[in-house]
Symmetry: C2
Subunit: 214 residues, 2 copies
DNA sequence: GTCTATACATCGATAGAC
DNA sequence: GTCTATCGATGTATAGAC
C-alpha cells in the first residue's frame, strides 16, 4: 500500500507552487501538474485555493519555527546557542531558499487568518522559540558574558545576516557574475564559510570590553 | 502648467502597486485608480502591463542603487564608510519597506529582461557601487585597520542586518505584540537605535586583535 | 487624449457521467 | 474517487465614438 497518500502528494506540490510563486502567482493547474493528478481533485480534497493555501502556510510555519525550536531548546551555553542558531538558519534557508521570503511576504499580505496560524504555531512550543532566544541572550548579559545590548536588535541582526544570502542569492550571483568576483564560486563551501564568518563577527562584537573607538 | 505629467502620475501609481503586490498581484485597474485616471489610458501611454512593469523595475533599481552610490562614493575613511552604508540602507528600507523585497523577489522571478535592466543600471555608475564597496573593505584590511575577512561575506552581513527589519517588520510586530516585548514601540527611535547597534556590533567584530575564544 | 463598451484569455470552481 | 466539459468571474487589452 502506497503510504504517500494523494492528499500528501497534493500538499507537497502545493507547497512548492505557493512558495515559488506566492498566493497570486500560484496556479491550481500548476499544482495539479506537479502532483501528477487532475485539477478537479484539488477541489475534491481541499475545496478551494484559499483553503489549500492556508494549510500550506501552517505547514510551512510549523516546519520553519519547529526546526529552530528543536535545535536551540535545551542549550544553556551562550556560545553554543549562538553557533547553533546561526547554523540552523543557514541550513534551513539554503535548503529552502524561498521559504523565509515566503513567510515574510505572505505574512505582510495575509490578513487575520494567516496571523491566527502564526499565533497557533508559535504557542504550540512551550516556551515559544521567541522566548527561548530572549532568555539565552538576557542570561548571557546578566552573567557578564557579553556586553549590554538590546536583545531584540541582536535577534534581528542574527536573522538578517543568516537568512539574507538565501533570499538574495539570485541577485547576488548575477551581480557577482557581472563583476567577476564570484569566479569559482562553490555554494556549499560558501555557506560553511558564511556560518563561521557570521559567528566570528558577532561573537567578537558582543565581547564584554571597551572598544578602540569613542 | 502642471509639471506632474500624466506619464509621471502613472509611473508613480504603478510603482506603488507593483511594489506592494508584485507582478502577479498587481492590477491595471488598481494602478488606474491610484493615478485617478481611466484604465484605458494606461495602455495608451504604456501599451501593456509587461512594458509598464519593466519601466518600474528600472526606476526602482535606479533609485535604490543610485541612492547608495551617491551616499558612499568618495568616502575614504573606513569607519565613516561603514556608518554611512548602514545608515543609508536603513533609511532607504524604512522609507520604502517593500522595496528591497521587491527587488529580490522580482529579480529571482524575472528573466533576461530584468537581468538586462540590472546590468544597465549598475554599469551607469563608474565605478559600480559594488566595486566601491569592495575597494573600501579591501583597503581597510590592507592598512590593518580591520582584521582579515571575506569582503563579500561582510557585505552580505551588512545588507542582511540593515535591510532585514524593514522586510520583516509585519511579522516582527505581530510576534512582538503576541509576546508583549514590543510595548511602547516607537518605530523612529527603534530605527535610530538599530543604526547604532549594527555599527557598534560590526565595528567591534572587525577589530584587528585576538579574540577571547579559540 | 479620453471615454464607454466589449472582445478575448485565464483561472477557480462545479456539474454530471462513470 | 476520478474524469470531461463547462460555467462564471476577473483581468488585460482594444475598437470606436467623441
Amino acid at each position: 500500500m502506497n503510504n504517500t497518500s494523494k492528499e500528501e502528494l497534493i500538499l507537497e506540490a502545493a507547497m512548492d507552487e505557493f512558495i515559488a510563486r506566492g498566493w497570486s502567482g500560484a496556479r491550481m493547474q500548476s499544482i495539479a501538474d506537479r502532483a501528477g493528478i487532475n485539477k478537479t481533485l484539488l477541489h475534491y480534497y481541499y475545496r478551494s485555493k484559499e483553503n489549500l493555501y492556508e494549510q500550506i502556510v501552517r505547514r510551512t510555519m510549523e516546519y520553519f519555527f519547529g526546526s529552530i525550536f528543536r535545535k536551540i531548546s535545551g542549550i544553556e551555553n551562550f556560545e553554543e546557542f549562538l553557533r547553533t542558531f546561526i547554523n540552523t538558519l543557514i541550513d534551513l534557508s539554503s535548503d529552502n531558499p524561498r521559504l523565509p521570503m515566503f513567510i515574510m511576504q505572505e505574512l505582510s499580505r495575509g490578513g487575520e487568518a494567516v496571523l491566527a496560524i502564526l499565533n497557533d504555531v508559535l504557542s504550540r512550543n512551550n516556551p515559544p522559540v521567541t522566548v527561548v532566544m530572549l532568555r539565552n541572550i538576557t542570561r548571557a548579559m546578566d552573567q557578564g558574558k557579553i556586553r549590554k545590548i538590546s536583545p531584540i536588535q541582536l535577534i534581528m541582526t542574527l536573522l538578517g545576516s543568516s537568512l539574507y544570502f538565501a533570499m538574495a542569492e539570485p541577485i547576488v550571483m548575477k551581480i557577482g557574475g557581472m563583476n567577476g568576483f564570484m569566479e569559482g564560486f562553490d555554494r556549499k563551501s560558501f555557506l560553511e564559510e558564511r556560518k563561521k564568518e557570521i559567528f566570528e563577527l558577532i561573537y567578537r562584537g558582543l565581547e564584554n570590553r571597551v572598544a578602540d573607538h569613542g
